[in-house]
Every structure is written in C-alpha cells, then in structure tokens.
Amino acid sequence: MGTHAEAMDTAASQAEDIQLLEDAARRFIQTEVAPHLEAWEEAGQFPRSLYARAAELGWLGMGYPEALGGTPAPWAVRNALTIALARTGGSGGLLASLFSHNIGLPPVLRHGSPALQQQVIPDVLAGRKVAALCITEPGGGTDVSALKTTARLDGDHYVVDGEKVFITSGTRADWLTVAVRTEPLNKGQKPGAGGISMLMVPGDAPGVSRSPLKKMGWLCSDTAHIRFDGVRVPATNLVGEEGAGFKIILTNFNGERLAMSAMALGFAECCFDEALAWARQRKTFGTALIDHQVIRHKLMDMKMRIESTRAWLNAVAARADAGDRGDKSAKGAEWVAQVCLLKNHATQTMQFCADQGVQILGGMGFMRGTACERIYREVKVMMIGGGAEEIMKELASRQLGL
C-alpha cells in the first residue's frame, strides 16, 4: 500500500513539475525568444548568452547527475519541456543548437573518465561552454562505419586529420565530441565499425577550421563544416576505450531519436494551434474557414496523428525511464525498434501537420513569419538527421529479427 501511495505522490508531483515547466517555457519563448526570432534566423545564430539563460532556468542540466552540475529528471519531464518549447514557438534551429549538448555530452557522461567528465560537463551545463557532436562526414552520415577521419597516437597525444559536416553548434562549440578512426593506425583492431573511437577535441585547438553552412531550415542554428588538420589532443581526451566508438554512437542515437520525436510532436502541435486560430478568424466565400467541412476534417486528421504520436511517445519514454531506474527488460532490442519507428511516425506527423497547416493558412502559409512556413522548411532535417527514415526502417526490422 505504501508503495502505491508513494507512486501516486510521485505521479502527482511529476504532473506539477511538468505544469511549472510548461508555463516557464511559454513565458521564456513569448518574452525572450519570439520578439527576436526572425532576426536570429536571418543572422544564422542566436546570442551566446542564451546558453547561460537556459542554464539559469535549470534546463541545460536536466537529466544529468548533481555531482556534475545537473538535475536528474526522467524522460517524461524532459520531453514535456522539449514539446512546450517547440509548441509555443521555439524554432527548430534554436532548440537544436541550444540543446546540442544533449547529443554532445552523453558519450562523456556514460563512458568518459571521471577527470574528463569534470573537465567537460559542469561548464557546459552552466552555459559557459557549448558542446557539439561530430559524426557525419562528407562521404557518409548514417553509415557510421564508413567514416574516414583519423586519430593517430603520437606519444601521449592523438593527432586528428579529416573533416566533418552538418555539425550543429559547430561554428562556436568549445567541445567537439568527435568520432574518429583509430584503426588501423594504432593497436591491432579490426577494420570497419571496430576501429572507431570517440575523442574530445577543444574547438579552439590549433588545426581546427570551421565554416558555416547555409541550410533550408533551422536557420538560427550555427551548422558547420569542420576540418581537422594535424590537430593534437591529449590522449586522456579519449572517451572510453579505443575501438568502443561505434557502440557509444549507437547508444547515443536512441536518446537523440527520442528527443527528436518529442520535438516533432511539439512542432506538429504548433502547426495545429496556428492553423486552428487562423481558420477561426479567416473569412472566405462569406463564412469563416472553420465553417467549411473539409477544413474541420483537415484539423481532425492533424489532431489524430498528434494524439497517436503523444500516446506512443509517452509509452516509449516510460520504458526508457523504467530502464534508467534499473529494469533491464525495459530497453531491449524491441524497444530500440520502437524508438526508430516512433521517430519516423513523429516526423511524419510533423510533416503532415506542417503541410496541412500551410494549406489552411493559404498565401499566409507561404510567408516568412508564420510558424507553419518555418516548420514546413524545418521538417526535412528531422526526417534525415539522427538517422534517415529509410535507415530507421532497416534498423527496426533488424532489431525485430526480420
């Protein structure tokens, strides 16, 4: 009985936490983001001071241990924040760069030495430093085992050579979590996926050169092409062991895909909200748009996909939380398959809602300044980044033993 009452208490306090977070997110977006967002999107970046602000609000450290400056929080709570920021008008570029540490840090958090963790993580969670994940190369993204950037051991340093592309927060990140090939240069590791390692490279290390990329969407996210020319990094910056990189990357993807699903849901809801408000206000052929049956049906098609995505996201996140609490059966291969398929479903929901939203807004939906227009441009990166849709299906079918 005691545990049941405790569980009810926990559920009630979590619901309260979520409500407070959603209110804070809405206020933040309305007062500190919305008035400047268009200017930031034009400029290709937002002020760096926003990282410190997000840290102050307690958002950067969510889900990280207290010893490293974080606040432990379950997926249920983290997702609620992501959804609220996306729904109330945070752009994809803003969220991707402001929270790029959520893909950059987990490798160090899970596999780095205590010294490396202390060196990297607290400053990032405090908003003093920016972290980015560098995996994709010009010759391959999702096909991680094909990567060519090398790290050659030279005394107590690694020497890094190669290039990375489409790196979120890449132009100003202070810490680059870089996937490198340590085989066949060093110890006798197997070729292919086996020879990949993760290395922390300071963004200002000599030999690192970066240039911004122009994208279709996520405009205020600073996305970079990065070259490494003989970059020397202390060998102690290696994350985990040599050759463990592939496994680290694959584990990292699950969290990234779950977070992307939450983002996609928030953006879909943002489109729905804007389209509904417009349909109520806009008059065509003498009646409000909402009085046309097909418009109401469009909105219901959007709502149907939004609600199915929400239910599925909550179910998959609940299993992630159970797994994090120690339930080993919660996060097996079948769960990984669900994460992959959920990412596809959530981004398809987002695409459908952006498309229908633009259609309901009509000419306005093609104009800069509406959320539907922005989200229509932002959706493709969600269907490609973090593992393209086709790869998600391949991976899921393999996890399910097909």
Binding site: G217, F366, K380, M383
Partner: protein
C-alpha cells in the same frame, strides 16, 4: 494549364538529378540506387509525373480544339500542386544532409514547389470547381 505545364520539366529534372545522385552515392558499400526501396520510389514518382504530363497534354489539345476544359484544366492544376510537393519531398529524402543545404537544387524545388498548391487557385478551389462540373456540388450562392 500553364501551372501544370510549367512544372513538368522541373519535376522531370528533379527525378533525373536524383537518379544520377543515387547511382553515384555509396552507402554501406553499395550505390544508393541498388536499394530496392530507392528504385521503387523513383519508379513511382516517374509514373505520377507521366500521368500529369498526359492529363496536361490532353487538356491542352481539347482546349486548342475549342472545347470547354474547365474540369480537365482544374484537375491538371490540382495534380500539379500535389506532385510539386510529393516529388521534391521524395527525391530530397535520398539526398540526405546535402538536400538540406540552401543551395541544393532539389531543396529549392521543395521550397518553391509548395506554392503550387496555393497560388493560382488552391487545391481546394480546384476541387470545388471539379465537384461543380461533376454536378455533385451546387453552383456558388453569392452572399
């Protein structure tokens, strides 16, 4: 009819560029074009495009013979708007991150093409006309 005709070549280019890219691009040790899904998706899109071409040409021919082509022209415009979304979207997916850069040709068609279902009479207006010429909807009553 102009809206429909004017997108035939750009959609054809979109597919052609993507076929070239899929043959060039290597992934998991093989060309992207070796994946059955990629082959079928491209085949599907080309089929859609050819049906739009046939519909557009038929509307134009009848128009030149002096017939009323309100219904066929509206159908061509509707289908063109739809394919202006569907084909660049399907193609762009195969370009991966490259397709998300501003300068990419397919990315431009993805952005520009969206206007096709809105400008020159939205899809819904086309369907309204078709429904009326079919006799399933009443003629508009002016308020």
């Amino acid at each position: 009819m102009w809206c429909a005709a004017s997108c035939l070549q750009s959609l054809q280019n979109c597919i052609d560029w993507t076929v070239e890219w899929a043959q060039e691009r290597k992934m998991f040790g093989a060309a992207l074009a070796d994946q059955q899904w990629v082959q079928f998706k491209l085949a599907e899109m080309k089929t859609e495009l050819e049906s739009l071409r046939a519909l557009t040409y038929r509307a134009c021919e009848l128009y030149m013979q002096g017939q009323d082509v309100m219904e066929l022209a509206s159908m061509a415009k509707l289908k063109a708007g739809r394919l202006n979304r569907l084909i660049p979207d399907g193609c762009l997916q195969f370009w991966g991150g490259m397709g998300y850069t501003w300068e990419n040709k397919v990315a431009r068609l993805f952005r520009d093409g969206r206007l096709g279902s809105i400008g020159g009479g939205a899809d819904e207006v086309m369907m309204g006309i078709i429904a009326k010429t079919m006799g399933v909807a009443k003629r508009p009553q002016r308020a």
